[in-house]
């Protein structure tokens, strides 16, 4: 039994009815009337080139074209963590698809037609497509001005190289650790790029009115961060934060792809030149693939030292990231991994080098998991290899080395309370670890694989949240916050948190998508941190309301406020069981007194949250000294696979995942994250395969050629397990789970294949073809 009334209950989503009835409004659904203009973006056809000339003569003749713009019209830089990007390319293009010019027209067809008529002459420069080439001796420099780019203080760019950031985390005696080891393993793993594939593409409409007010309607995870970056980038035009307003309707999927600022800045900038007219840009599915962010690719080199008894003595982890042409957001993925690439293990000697490397491929950025899926593939594969070499069961090995509360983390701070060992044990039990499984079909092999998971929110130490709550006349509530419900159920969870404190059921609470003019500040909806961070703000705002109600009771009834409590949509008294004052009777109109006057008035609450213990300040050579991560969410997962030995086809018969949510505010929504995250993870392993040609052009920017799973590709059985070891500073003990659900999938599949077939696959994706080839190879030897 939950100790709470509304927290811990699988209540119905408060946006469910809207979404299922077709009533939910997404950005593309907004109407702007007959004056709406459409922009079509002209994109670079070259991966690395100098722009010699842009000829718009033919394009201007197309009927319906209003105006054409090029980079020269917008000489402004922008970027979240490092300002390495211009709104439109200036002299140099650095990836195929980069925005070079824009046609603004009365209708989308005219804009498209004109865009095709713009002639751009390029002088080709040598492109660099592999991060390893980019750090070879005397490479082509993609950003010769790297040393001058403004960036956050915790980034360390290496001038005159292609290394935009190098995060080093060093702790303990590495040489000694390897010297003491009875077994040393060294391996290299590769993970390619991936695409988010939210079903809604990016859409933005922007209007700069005659009074100098810039309004942007965007499909966004980050309304406030966008407002901030627009105001920063457009400051030369005299635009101030108060002049910029971002309105974010429902978002049709984010997964990190709609975090920060990508194409939204194009509409914001174009609007400033088209005063009075709303300007709309909707990305096509192709553009969504190559000109938002992609997940970064990585080459990971690991060296692991172990004692015979299975204890780990040392880990060296070098990660070389293909971060793409611009890394204003992606460099922080690299940073996050540089702090956490130990995985959830106790390791006395650690050396992590995480290098953010420029290439002439599309910009890398946030993607659900923020680098953790990528490094866990290598690390968790290697842990299995180590256990096997030492003759220790893979689950036993993990139980022995799993990190516990209070253990020292790679950067020197201490691990938060967690249920990792419980997760391992429960997953092992559910998948019947150790029990042999044999297929009755001789052509097929059944096998199991295991993996741990952990992830911390990656955010600046001053990322904060705030909330307003107001009562309505009938005692219902409006909560105003600026996080985004990108599907995870954030709006519902905020309602449940306020409900718990105020004893108003969630179905009497409305939480809407934000408008930065009306709703208070939220950094952005990323890092699986809004339940924790904004949840704390909402909880504080609700407590603020509760305190005001008790104060009012004391004033109106002359009884000490300590005697009152909230229950059943109203106020009750410990002193007098018959006392009950319904919220609807006073929260707006006040409490009537005998003399005809009233006490009170509209009751509103405010709450803010900033993790004041967090700090990104540390020694650049060792990463020691700060407290960059607020906490880690941990868990474990396992699969049972059926593999066809001839075709290499993999069928997932069962997937089990246990995750420590601290306190699941809504267990039904946590389970939704597990079923959704697992399938997104499986997709990156089994289906999705991004193909670039030797010119750097993405060859499969559509769902016909870049396969994401359908109903027919789901595991036969999924068992979600929720562990609840409370997070001391979380609302009711909650911590985030959204990204974590997808990150153990690749290694657990790779480990299962090894366990069943003796093949060790070290690069993703793990397609049927790759498996079949590996089986053949093994039979040959």
């Amino acid at each position: 039994m939950s100790k709470y009334r509304f927290v811990g209950k699988g209540v119905e989503r408060i946006d469910g009815r809207e979404k299922v009835s077709g009533a939910a409004i997404y950005t593309d659904d907004l109407e702007f009337g007959p004056d709406l203009l459409y922009a079509e973006i002209v994109e670079s056809s070259e991966a690395h080139a100098k722009i010699v000339s842009i000829d718009v003569t033919e394009a201007e003749k197309v009927e319906g074209v209003v105006q054409i713009f090029t980079g020269k019209d917008f000489p402004y830089k922008f970027g979240l963590y490092m300002k390495d990007r211009y709104i439109f390319a200036q002299d140099i293009v650095r990836f195929i698809g980069e925005q070079v010019a824009a046609v603004v027209a009365r209708d989308p067809k005219a804009a498209k037609k004109a865009a095709e008529l713009i002639k751009i002459e390029y002088e080709l420069l040598t492109p660099v497509f592999s991060q390893m080439d980019a750090i070879s001796e005397n490479p082509v420099l993609l950003h010769p001005d790297l040393g001058e780019y403004p960036h956050v203080p915790w980034f360390f760019p290496k001038e005159n190289t292609n290394i935009a950031h190098w995060r080093k985390t060093k702790r303990g005696d590495l040489d000694g650790g390897f010297k003491d080891a009875d077994l040393i393993l060294e391996e290299t793993f590769e993970v390619p790029r991936y695409a988010h594939c939210a079903i809604e593409t990016h859409v933005v409409i922007s209007k700069y009115d005659y009074s100098g007010r810039l309004t942007v309607w965007a499909s966004s995870q980050s309304p406030y961060t966008q407002r901030h970056l627009f105001a920063e980038a457009l400051a030369p035009l005299g635009i101030k934060h108060k002049d910029v307003r971002v309105i974010a309707p429902h978002v049709g999927g984010g997964f990190g792809g709609k975090a920060g600022v990508t194409m939204e800045i194009l509409a914001a900038a174009l609007a400033t030149k088209m005063k009075g007219h709303p300007v709309k840009i909707r990305w096509s599915r192709e553009q969504e693939f190559y000109n938002t962010y992609q997940r970064l690719g990585v080459v990971a080199k690991l060296k692991l030292g172990l004692k015979k008894d299975g204890s780990i003595t040392a880990l060296q982890h070098q990660l070389y990231w293909d971060a793409g042409a611009y890394v204003e957001y992606g460099a922080n993925v690299v940073n996050a991994v540089g702090l956490s690439a130990t995985g959830p293990y106790k390791i006395p000697a650690i050396s992590i080098d995480s290098l953010c490397i420029y290439t002439n491929l599309p910009p890398g950025g946030a993607y659900r998991g923020f680098g953790y899926s990528e490094f866990l593939f290598g690390l968790e594969s290697l842990m299995d290899q180590a256990a096997e070499k030492l003759g220790i069961d893979a689950v036993e090995f993990r139980l022995k080395n799993a990190i516990s509360k209070g253990d020292t983390l790679a950067y020197g701070a201490h691990m938060n309370p967690n249920g990792l060992k419980q997760a391992i044990t429960e997953v092992a039990k559910e998948i019947e670890w150790g029990k042999e499984v044999v297929s009755i079909d001789p052509e097929k092999v059944l096998c199991k694989g295991f993996s741990l998971l952990w992830k911390a929110p990656a955010m600046p130490p001053n990322a904060s949240s705030s909330a307003f709550i107001k009562f309505n006349e009938d005692g219902s509530l409006n909560i105003l916050v600026s996080g985004m419900d990108i599907g995870q159920g954030y709006l519902t969870v905020m309602a449940q948190i306020a409900a718990e404190i105020l004893s108003v059921p969630p179905n009497k609470i409305r939480v809407e998508n934000p408008d930065t003019d009306r709703n208070p500040y939220e950094w952005q909806t990323v890092a699986s941190h809004v339940t924790w961070s904004c949840g704390n703000a909402v909880k504080k705002a609700a407590i603020h309301i509760r305190e005001q109600i008790f104060d009012l009771m004391e004033r109106a009834f002359k009884v000490s406020k300590d005697n009152f409590y909230l229950e059943d949509d109203g106020v009750k008294s410990h002193l007098d069981p018959s006392f009950y004052l319904a919220f609807k009777d006073f929260v707006v109109f006040g409490i009537p007194m005998d003399d005809g006057s009233f006490r009170g008035g509209p009751i509103t609450g405010v709450g803010t949250f900033l993790p004041e213990f967090s700090s990104a300040k540390s020694d650049p050579e060792t990463g020691q000294g700060g407290h960059p991560n607020v906490h880690y969410t941990v868990g474990a997962a396992a699969v049972l696979l059926e593999v066809d030995k001839k075709s290499g086809q993999i069928k997932v018969l069962k997937a089990v995942e246990a995750i420590d949510a601290g306190q699941a505010i809504n267990p039904d929504l946590v389970k939704g994250q597990i079923t959704g995250g697992l399938l997104q993870g499986l997709a990156t392993v089994l289906y999705e395969d991004m193909r670039f040609n030797d010119k750097g052009r993405l060859l499969n920017p559509n769902f016909t050629d870049y396969k994401i799973p359908t109903t027919k590709d789901i595991p036969e059985e999924i068992v979600p397990i929720i562990i609840e070891v409370p997070q001391p500073d979380g609302p009711f003990g909650a911590r985030g789970v959204g990204e974590q659900t997808m990150i153990p999938v690749a290694p657990m599949i790779a480990n299962a294949l090894y366990n069943g077939l003796g093949i060790r696959i070290k690069s993703m994706p793990i397609t049927a073809e790759k498996v079949a080839m590996a089986i053949l190879e093994k039979e040959k030897n």
Binding site: E18, V20, A23, A198, I199, G253, R285, G487, N702, T710
Partner: protein, 164 residues
């Protein structure tokens, strides 16, 4: 411009369209029906699905001019006299996350249940295989439809009659 006449969500409408106007754009921009969504414009995602003479079609692949004389139903039409049993089941089961795929899934499920009120799990998967959902892993969507199927089966076993 060509004049076309059709029944949309029970109402007879006549409008003018260009021969190359796509049905999805016409529904959204000329008729203000926003439930069909654009996810790919090439028939891959199913977000734009509508019922055309009772059969689900991807409206991004249909020219508006082709629907002259036809009957079209969108999720607005399905919802207008109260939500259907399947919509209520989706709400109860928290089937959707971002909800962008929901209109297409409601269309595909409505078509399925009108033809077959007691589909098996495999039949449900087959019927929804053309609707991409990136958020849910499909499980909570399939569970809601299965629940209706069980319910219908149970009812028909008892009463001999079925309906959607």
């Amino acid at each position: 411009m060509n004049k076309i006449t059709f029944i949309i969500n029970g109402e007879k409408r006549s409008i003018y369209v260009e021969p190359n106007d796509v049905l999805l754009d016409v529904l959204r921009d000329k008729l203000g029906l926003k439930s069909p969504k654009c996810g790919c414009e090439r028939g891959d995602c199913g977000a734009c699905s509508v019922l055309l003479n009772g059969k689900s079609v991807r409206s991004c692949l249909v020219f508006a001019i082709e629907v002259d004389g036809c009957e079209i139903e969108t999720v607005e039409g399905i919802s207008q006299n109260g939500l259907s049993v399947v919509q209520e089941a989706f709400i109860e089961m928290n089937s959707f996350q971002c909800g962008f795929c929901a209109p297409g899934v409601v269309i595909a499920t409505t078509e399925l249940l009108r033809k077959n009120s007691t589909p098996t799990k495999e039949e449900i998967k087959e019927a929804l295989a053309g609707n991409l959902c990136r958020c849910t892993g499909y499980t909570p969507i399939l569970e809601a439809v299965e629940k209706i199927s069980h319910h219908n089966k149970h009812n028909s076993d008892n009463t001999g009659g079925t309906n959607e």
